[in-house]
Symmetry: C2
Subunit: 229 residues, 2 copies
């Protein structure tokens, strides 16, 4: 039966997942939902536009102007620091005050592309399970462990921390058993993290002061993967 | 005198530059305008919110929800293929059907960061002088030559063309006297260009099928710069 009422329990539940993404999250689009299923995630339920919901009600749910015909409702993944630090043959990504959900989602996708263990979100980062971050991750959010933690929790793991910083010395990123940290484009690393980190810079023209955080992450994670291969 | 009327000639001229960007373009924000001036560009005129325009009228001009207090009106830069191919100690970037203005602007910024000669826009690309592309370039649009051209015009230059393609063989990008070409994320390179190009892939995990075009450009341009240094 096609749902047509805003009072329907599924409609309310999906809207809550889109809005709060506390326990459940929504993946939009047939490709992203298929990728999630291929990665082993079992949707609570999938919904088609004009099939499970009337087109009008489906469009009222979608966050974007171009709704994608299919959405999937999933449990929000739960990961732990232990899981992220279990494997010392690759690197861990730490984000510090990265507020833009598009950047957080893009870096989740990069972590999958370049086989990082996972992402530690330090204070001040956008929620990686917001619709915009999920879209930017192109479905990778379900295959990359992401955990929020304090700087102290991160430092206690004892792994070397290497932070991208345009004022550091140019050099190659670590290939394994290290944390690659990125601060916000505007304000850089928080002092507590900067104190515990070695910095490296990306070689670039003096014409430009800094790179976008997702651009920096792309370059250093790709290079780290290459050095590991 | 503070302009308060929508009938004012400056108001109409700026609105046209934002909308059509044929002969004149608008740079938004004090930082981007200052960078443009530092790069040697002389604004036709700059305008302050609440100074040259009433706050209400200024906000009506701005494209974004958070207007930036200062905008500058500039002549649209005119570049030529001869200019872009004049220097054989670096590479030229070619974009093929890159429709998203945010991606085009980001790649303009990358061309500045990694000292490419300039950008050739093949058919199907977004206008690099639209407000969104200009914002994504973070002001770099005024320092990077950008020219629209046909695939034939590009091939006639006789430089080797190396195209990013996930199905190609992994390898380093060229450092100099070559064209680095990027297709759209969805449909890849147009056949005419693919015929004339060698392809290289970015080494990455089989977990991910492809990267965003701006991400691919960041990784290959950074590597090309490093090999040239």
């Amino acid at each position: 039966m096609t749902i047509s009422s805003r009072q329907n329990v599924w409609f309310k539940r999906i809207r809550e997942a889109i809005h709060d993404h506390d326990d459940e999250i929504v993946i939009e689009g047939p490709k992203a939902v298929a990728d999630a299923v291929a990665a082993g995630w079992v949707p609570i339920k999938t919904f088609g536009r004009g099939v499970d919901f009337t087109a009008g009600l489906f469009d009222a749910l979608a966050e974007t102007k171009s709704p994608q015909n299919v959405i999937g409702l999933f449990h929000r993944p739960q990961s732990s620091l232990d899981q992220i630090f279990a494997r010392d043959s690759s690197v861990v990504v730490a984000l510090d005050g990265v507020q833009d959900p598009g950047n957080v989602g893009t870096i989740v996708r990069l972590a999958a592309a370049f086989d990082a263990n996972g992402i530690v979100l330090l204070p001040g980062c956008a929620d990686p399970y917001s619709p915009k971050a999920i879209r930017s991750s192109a479905g990778a959010i379900l295959s990359v462990p992401v955990v929020s933690a304090s700087v102290e929790d991160l430092l206690m793991r004892g792994w070397p921390i290497v932070a991208a910083d345009a004022r550091g010395e140019a050099g190659d990123p670590p290939a394994r058993r290290a944390v690659l940290a990125f601060g916000s484009e505007g304000s850089g690393l928080s002092p507590a993290l900067a104190d515990g980190a070695r910095t490296i810079a990306i070689r670039m023209s003096p014409r430009i002061e800094s790179l976008n955080v997702a651009t920096s992450a792309a370059i250093l994670l790709a290079r780290s993967y290459e050095l590991r291969a």
